[in-house]
């Protein structure tokens, strides 16, 4: 027992700070700071976390360059300073969507020689079939992967949370109807469902993203429901009911926060899955449309050159691999940090 607080005020012989340390270490697993400190102690999870942070920074910067600057370029005030789409990339280096004037297509990476010439430092990872710099296109493809992965997961998470929480909290016929619906969705193969969604609404990255999000709702709904069913029996929920709190607020403020830990882990892992699915859709031609750079679409284009110039497909494949593994490692670490039963 901690004796450092012996000077703290006591009341009727009971020490205020007198709580069990071991109990704290279990129950304190609710704070963000604590969770992150746990993750930091886990080298694989922390590695994954760093990769995610790096990718997120790249994604934000490139989004500003591609989307925000394009928007600002419409206005004279900004345009006269030379603001345009890919302004940053062009100023520093070159355009990610247009062929460089002085390069050949399918130039290999530095230090390798192929039928088209010798790799140069001007294009460290080589050029693609239209002479565009691969490194730059990979950097700009991060934006799509991260944004689409996170947004698709967010759609699934929010939708699943609403469905699962309502289903678990109310029980009875509401539960039956919602869960049977979720299981029906679950029975259809994931990719088929997403393709059907795109077929119905149109071939664009937005619908691909929404499709992946909607298709992952059942997974989240079932997960959160299983937690809610036990949390709703907790006494603080009944206490809130007895205090006249509305059902909606009980669900939002008491039930969901206490059911959230496993969902957070699932969401992190789901981002990885969503990135793969979206890349797969782009590969099939249903996702992002050229010339916007995306990893999946780069992979798709590289198919014809896979034997002769394998590096062309290796780079985007590697990017997808590293990002997805990073999300999975972070998700595993998060699970260890949030699971009160694992005492590491």
């Amino acid at each position: 027992m901690a004796t450092t607080h012996s000077d703290s005020e006591t009341l009727g012989g009971e020490s205020v700070e007198d709580f069990d340390e071991s109990e704290q270490s279990v129950e304190a697993r609710v704070g963000w700071r604590y969770t992150l400190s746990q993750v930091r102690e886990d080298p694989t999870a922390f590695g994954g976390f760093l990769v995610i942070v790096a990718a997120a920074v790249v994604a934000v910067v490139t989004t500003i360059d591609a989307v925000v600057f394009e928007f600002l370029a419409q206005y004279q005030v900004f345009a006269q300073f030379g603001v345009e789409k890919y302004w940053l990339a062009k100023t520093v280096w070159m355009s990610p969507v247009q062929e460089s004037a002085d390069t050949t297509a399918l130039l290999p990476p530095v230090g390798i020689e192929n039928a088209y010439g010798q790799g140069t430092w001007a294009h460290p990872l080589g050029t693609d079939d239209r002479g565009r710099d691969i490194l730059l296109r990979l950097i700009y493809g991060t934006r799509i992967a991260i944004m689409v992965g996170v947004l698709a997961t967010a759609i699934g998470l929010v939708g699943g949370m609403v469905v699962g929480a309502v289903s678990g909290y109310y029980g009875g016929w509401v539960d039956d109807v919602l869960m049977r619906l979720a299981e029906t969705l679950y029975a259809i193969p994931f990719l088929v469902l997403v393709l059907a969604f795109i077929a119905a609404f149109g071939r664009s990255i937005t619908f691909a993203m929404i499709g992946v999000g909607v298709a992952s709702i059942p997974k989240f709904a079932r997960l959160i429901r299983s937690r809610v069913v036990s949390v709703r029996e907790d006494e603080y929920v009944e206490a809130a009911k007895a205090a006249g709190v509305r059902d909606r607020n009980i669900i939002l403020r008491h039930v969901i926060p206490n059911s959230f830990a496993p969902v957070l882990v699932q969401a992190t892992l789901q981002v990885g899955t969503a990135i793969i699915i979206i890349a797969g859709l782009s590969f099939l031609g249903f996702g992002i449309q050229p010339p916007t750079p995306s990893w999946g679409q780069m992979l798709s284009v590289s198919r014809d050159h896979m034997i002769a110039d394998p590096w062309f497909s290796i780079w985007p494949g590697l990017c997808i691999l590293v990002t997805v593994v990073a999300f999975n490692m972070f998700g595993d670490g998060l699970r260890d940090a949030l699971d009160p039963r694992l005492d590491n």
Binding site: V16, E27, V30, E235, A243, G244, P257, N258
Partner: protein, 371 residues
Amino acid sequence: MSDPLLRVDDLQVQFFTEDGVVRAVDGISFDVHEGELVGLVGESGAGKSVAVSAIMRLIESPGKIVGGRIEFDGETLVEVETGPDGDPYRTEATMPDGELRERIRGREIAIIFQDPMESLNPVFTVGGQLREFIELNRDFSEREAREEAVSMLREVGIPEPEARYGDYPHQFSGGMRQRVLIAMALACEPSLIIADEPTTALDVTVEAQILDLVEDLQDRYGTSFVWVTHDMGVVAEICDRVNVMYLGEIVEQAPVDDLFYETKHPYTAALLDSVPRPDQTVEELNPIKGVMPEAIDPPSGCRFHTRCPEAREACTTTNPDCREVGFGDPPHRAACIKHDAFDAAYSGSPPLDAAAQQGFDVSLSGGETDD
């Protein structure tokens, strides 16, 4: 006497389980007057908690209030009657759900739960939860509610309330958390607080502090209490009047002193016998024999006759209601046919034990019941 603040009249709660209907609360009636602290005592499973949950209509499926009437401050919280088809239905006098939630729960009646460890949400700060309850029930702005929360924490004896305001529940000890829950109940200045075994999970020194605190606060705010407990010591300490429950029924109802010194029901007597008393030295405690029967299949006649040392043959056939058996105001009621108020053939009936010894077939006469 003036109209009671809370009047529970013939309340019946049943749980419809797969094994059959459990009659958890079977027709209990009691009053709580303004400023009074009324005890509800009984063994585990007697239906105490169900009875108080029913007051706030917190009974959840498969449980259901199937009869009776609960009146609070002149308003009908619930009134259930049996329709012509035999199904119970809520009458029009019953307060709508929304109104009950908005006006009664938290504002007029607050409840303190048994387990202080579980009754606070672990993911929010103690102060934040207290503030939320105050904001919700007293129409305060966020800043006013915060100030009120801090002053409530000070009121219930939390040292350095400003500093403790931002702490999480796990950083409080059990006694401190119970103080927080009391603060939460009091914060909305209700007229009635239902305390469902609030000190059971605490050790005795902390329990004593909490009881002192409650008495002190009750003096100051004049709040009425319904105090659920199984501890006769707590009853003696704080209650004004006591209801003793056994298997879903109230068996004795009396002012606290009468209950202890002029015990009228064998069950109450047995309860008092089974706890150590400072004024008596005994070799061994005398616990009540056997366990309480299941409420799904209660014994015929008087429900306590299977364990009652004074049971006679007549007890197996007559289930007595709670009648006035003593003089005084407030009245002393008991549900035992050994008293003259019951016109049952108790004195002429042979004792159950003796009957068994003499070879009488008890089950024959037990077959006809009025239940």
